[in-house]
């Protein structure tokens, strides 16, 4: 049986300076109960890997406003202008990746691939400082894999072993982040008995999942 823990217990796995992946595309598929619990701690100097960094003062945006994020790695921080402001003031380090490169780097991290050559971004500002290499007359740039200490993800249902399924476009980054962190904590809407989820339909097999947390009515 996978250990069902409280949101407060869950976030004790996140220490100062940790690198944390957080699932979601904007608020869709974001583990908001876990983010709320993290906000209630004093943890700081975090490196957050997430497609977005919330909205001003909301979700991950609250962590940014409280200056507890040292670095953000993601693809689209535009929806939170405070990220750009902090970045321009030199308070927040930012690593911007094309969304496909971000997701592929996370998948690579979970799959034991050290780095890969992608054509996306070759010849652009994104390629600055990255190795360029030609394969079959086309330019590619080298992207290293991304891994994290902890992943906070959101699923729809889990069985008692920790097998997960997602719902609609809330799937997004969650299944790949489930593979790429030392400790994976899944916030779920509902727990079902073992055997309830079809072996054909399970998206994240339980070997990836360490802890489960039930979703609560949230703040953000």
């Amino acid at each position: 049986m996978k250990k069902l823990i409280t949101p407060q217990e869950a976030v004790t796995y996140i220490k100062d300076g940790c690198r944390v992946m957080v699932g979601g595309f904007g608020l869709v598929g974001c583990p908001l109960t876990l983010v709320d619990a993290l906000l209630d701690t004093a943890v700081k100097d975090l490196e957050i890997i997430s497609n977005n960094l919330g909205e001003p003062g909301k979700g991950l945006g609250a962590l940014v406003r409280q200056q507890r994020v040292r670095k953000g790695i993601g693809s689209y921080f535009t929806s939170n202008p405070e990220v750009a402001a902090s970045y321009h003031r030199g308070e927040l380090e930012v690593e911007l990746l094309p969304q496909g490169t971000l997701s592929e780097a996370i998948r690579a991290g979970g799959a034991g691939i050290a780095a890969f050559y992608t054509p996306v971004g070759a010849g652009t500002e994104i390629a600055a400082g990255k190795e360029e290499r030609v394969f079959s007359n086309q330019k590619f740039i080298l992207q290293e894999a991304l891994k994290a200490d902890v992943a906070l993800i959101k699923a729809c249902q889990a069985d008692e072993l920790g097998n997960l399924i997602y719902t609609k476009s809330a799937r997004n980054f969650n299944p790949i982040m489930a593979t790429a962190a030392k400790i994976v904590i899944a916030e779920i809407d509902e727990m079902v008995p073992i055997g309830e989820l079809s072996p054909e339909h399970i998206v994240t097999p339980h070997l990836f999942v360490d802890f489960l947390v039930l979703k609560e009515a949230g703040r953000t």
Binding site: F25, G26, L27, V28, G29, N51, S75, Y76, F77, T78, S79, P81, V83, A84, A85, Y87, H88, V94, L96, L97, P98, Q99, G100, T101, L102, S103, E104, I106, R107, T118, P119, V120, G121, A122, G123, T124, E125, I126, K139, Y166, T167, K168, S169, A170, R171, N172, F173, N174, P175, I176, V203
Partner: protein, 224 residues
Amino acid sequence: MSIKNDIAKRAAASLKDGDIVNLGIGIPTLVADYIPENIMVFLHSENGILGVGPTPAEGMADKNLVNAGKLPVTVEKGASFFDSASSFGMIRGGHVDVSILGVLEVDERGRVANWSVPGKSVLGVGGAMDLLEGSKKVIVTTLHTAKKGDAKIVKTLHYPITSERQVDLIITDLAVFEVDSEGLILTELSPGVKLKEVKEKTEAAFRLKEDLITRESKRGEGAE
């Protein structure tokens, strides 16, 4: 019909039956409303949907079902959901037939700037580079000039380039350009638009297609 809708309608007319199509934010989103009735296209959304349907009716939005612009959508029969790495594998791997994108600028080789405005509080690239790099065909839809009248089809990009890839078609309120290895070719003028106006409002050099046409203003049908 607004100018933006006219552009969207012209873009829709260049789609083919069976096309897998990714629509960017802005004018491209409007294209969905003008798909010709005699063809079936499948809308891909990079956050993990193939088979995006119309906007849900008031009060029927599902918070777990949004498009890449984070707006509520529905899905068509035969749709599927997948994770972000799979979705961008589709894009980068060349499985999306057409992407329709908005731009800040296009240069005279048909290359695009549409992701970064230096110094502004805009910090994001999203899927723009992936779509430009990976789509089999890229159509740009844009107003011909910027708000203050500055050309958007320029000699040299002022904003950071999104990809070295040349787009295939540029559709504005005034004209349509095709792009080949040497640059832009004006192929079509919008109803009532004179060549002189396009020349004045386009900074980039372009050639004229031999059989340059003026699109008719007839409503309800595509031009192709």
